[in-house]
């Protein structure tokens, strides 16, 4: 640092500790709530110290059927979320790495047009064109299916741009050498481009996994059948009870389970996560 000012260091620590506490507080409250019995919420305020009901709460939500709003076993929803997150991450990477390869390594009519068509997807989030998009998936009979849940989200301009940037930094000599050795385009792609973009692929995978897991509006639109429900979209339905008290402990345990996989990914793969985040915003 520039100069040694103790009070500034103390201030910085104080600010950071306060920040960590504020950031963690909502999750702490949710974890604590999930360890209590349902009766703990009928009077007074949310408890702030752990209860003794954790095992019962969590095994309850895994079995499902505690009450009408908890009818979908949590295992089904977690599986659906996992399928959705993995399929979207994997699909996006495959689709965009292929299109980036086409755009960078070939010259063909309508290349610029294709590039702009991909670019446009970046501009139109589902949220702004909800009704017509819903009509398309319902006309294609894609409601309540994994195809409907995942395929429409696989087109992404960001990932294509990212791979385009990566390919542009790979020296031309690589390709010339490959051609001299008689390698065709797909062999070059498989043996040189893929290994050279490994870290980018891994970093992007982390970001896309989180993106897929956290989808909310899309699953709500596409699934009405409980067996296709994802966990993030399902929590809302559980909390929406009209004539009875919400089962707070169960709702909060589901919330904790919904957060766990993506948060674990960020914490354990922090380096890849940061790289993926920064790269995909370039």
């Amino acid at each position: 640092m520039v100069e040694n000012q103790r009070w500034l260091d103390y201030l910085a620590h104080a600010v950071l500790i306060l920040g960590v506490v504020i950031v963690a507080f909502p999750v702490y409250v949710a974890v604590i709530a999930s360890t209590h019995e349902p009766t703990a919420f009928t009077s007074g305020t949310i408890p702030l110290l752990p209860g003794a009901n954790a095992v019962e709460t969590y095994s309850g939500v895994f079995e499902g059927g505690i009450a009408a709003q908890m009818s979908v076993p949590i295992g089904v929803m977690l599986t659906n979320s996992m399928i959705m997150a993995l399929a979207i991450a994997f699909g996006k990477i495959v689709i965009s790495i292929l299109s980036a390869f086409a755009i960078v390594y070939f010259r063909f009519p309508f290349r610029v047009l294709a590039f702009w068509m991909i670019f446009i997807t970046l501009m139109l989030p589902v949220e702004v064109r909800i009704v017509p998009t819903f009509e398309v998936i319902s006309n294609l009979n894609m409601l309540n299916s994994y195809t409907g849940l995942t395929v429409p989200l696989m087109a992404s301009a960001t990932a294509t741009f990212l791979f385009r940037q990566v390919f542009l930094t790979i020296p031309d000599e690589m390709m010339e050498a490959a051609r001299i050795d008689g390698a065709g385009p797909m062999k070059f792609f498989k043996d040189i481009l893929l290994p050279m973009s490994q870290t980018n692929i891994a970093a992007l995978f982390v970001i896309l996994f989180i993106y897929g897991w956290n989808q909310y509006l899309w699953p709500i639109l596409v699934t009405t059948d409980d067996s296709y429900q994802t966990i993030v979209a399902g929590i809302k339905r559980m909390a929406d009870v009209v004539d009875s008290e919400p089962l707070w402990n169960s709702i909060m345990s589901v919330t904790v389970l919904a957060m766990l996989p993506p948060v674990a990914v960020v914490i354990f793969m922090q380096r890849l996560f940061v790289k993926g985040l920064v790269d995909s915003e370039k």
């Binding site: 520039v2 960590v20 909502p26 010259r107 501009m123 949220e127 702004v128 064109r129 909310y216």
Partner: protein, 295 residues
Amino acid sequence: MQTKRTIFGNKGLPYLLLAPQLIITGIFFLWPAAQAVRQSFLREDAFGLNFTFVGLRNYERLLDSPEYLNAIKVTVIFSISTVILALGVSLVLALAVDRMIRSGRAYTTLLVWPYAVAPAVAGILWWFIFNPTIGIMPYILENWFGYDWNHLLTPSDAMILVVVAAAWKQISYNFLFFVAGLQSIPNSLREAAAIDGAGPFKRFWTITLPLLSPTTFFLLVVNIVYTLFETFAVIDATTEGGPAQATNILVYKVFRDGFVGLNFGSSAAQSVILMGLVIVLTVIQFRFVERRVTY
């Protein structure tokens, strides 16, 4: 547009490689967008059987309706508050981490994980904390400040709730980019200023903040886009636009009018207006990325 000096000569292959992406883009992006534009000029009868061409009538009605104007106002208040809160808090945290030599990494880990929390989940978490009957915040507000919190009835309380939830979710993202921005400022500049007698606050205003302006501008655009579109889930999981339209932001209104109100013409016209807005913001973002704003 850039390609390689040497390229492959195949004729059909590039189309094959592009096909999956272009097919998905065409069916799920361009076609619905075109439909939105078409529907925005039509009116459907009550049974959904006949369409009549009404020209710009849907747009005129929209801009005349007090509800739409209210949604614009609500969106502006929501966006500005969320962006200021999310940027302000994360800048302070980033400045603090920037001072840390050894503990910086640990603090960073403890601060970045909310990025992974879904906006809908963030909404549920804060909704629980602010629950008027059992929530911890209403309890504190009532007993310490004598304030009777109820976001189910009081519009301003509902707005505060969604702003807090939306900003909380965005802090970690902004924090990471601010930290990166701070690290790219050469230490020699700050040292030179310190030698010239500038204290920490003066250095912040005259050196750090101006040199951080590209990062700040980038984050500003990204955060505006976030508050306008991605906060749909936060609103839907907490207030559903209520009470009395107090948190009915534009993107949520498109959904409500289309799926609950079944007013397709109006919903389509709103979609088209929002698409225009997204395009403007994306172009700004891209021009920035191309040039990286210099000072």
